[in-house]
Amino acid sequence: MRSATVLSAALAVGLSLGAGALQAQTSANINATATVLAALTVTGANDLQFGNVTPGVNKTVAIADAGAGRFDITKAASSGVALSFTLPANLTSGANTLPIGTWTGGWNTSATPAGATSFTPSASATNTTVTAGTAISVYVGATVSPAVAQAAGAYTGVVTMSAVYY
């Protein structure tokens, strides 16, 4: 009996060895690849609003006022962005002009003008450089100077902020 068991086992071993190179399972690899790009986002968030303006009376909007213009920048934390402005000297309504000037500016890493670092934007595109943080808010104010005999009309202009990456 014992001999039969041993002999059966030997035969089974032979059968299993004879199964040879059967591949019931196999594997292969591929890669997942990606290239991450840093990004820069610049958005004009709030218009510069003067509201009611009386001829002959200057009106100023400071950067902390509700009507201040605001741009928002999102950038990589370690990158540097220089802010450059192209500002009108006059708002226009047809052939009529309304002077605007005395621009003020401030930038902050929090979405509030309180504690903003001051700078002076101007029509000659002076710059300030921001390296800190990833989210920057830039506030802009100015003063309009309507003449006593300022002509009726709706006056408009364009404020351009350039974010120069270096």
Partner: protein, 154 residues
Amino acid sequence: MRIWILVACGMLVSPAMPAAAQVSVAGIRNLAFGSVIIGIPSTVAPSDAIRSGQYRFTAPAGARVRIDFDLPSQLNGPASARLPIKFGKTDAIVVGNAPGSVPTVLDPNPKANQKFDMGTNTAANIFLGGTVTPAGNQAPGSYVATIVLTVTIQ
């Protein structure tokens, strides 16, 4: 002596497995997300003809195979940076080589216990998609990880 003779006899009488009983797998194309932007998730569908990952496997007609992926949870980038990657339940498709084969959606995730009946197919392609989610402070650069497909005849 008798034992060894019996072992040899066993080897001689064991049926030679036909070549078609073998299964083979090859990686054909990487899952290539290309350029992705910090803070914006990017998805490649398995049906993407260019960017989806692709394997090809062969197995005997009529066999049932089990399909298992070893999926990364992140890609490795510069200075030990990690880019998270996820695979959805419909992020894999298998298509046999027989005429009129209909694509079958697979869940590539572990423990999904995905099976595929070869039927009249003798080979099939598996296409794999996924989604990467760059963080807001993700380091720019190239990221890579390995995806392993194992095909097992049941």
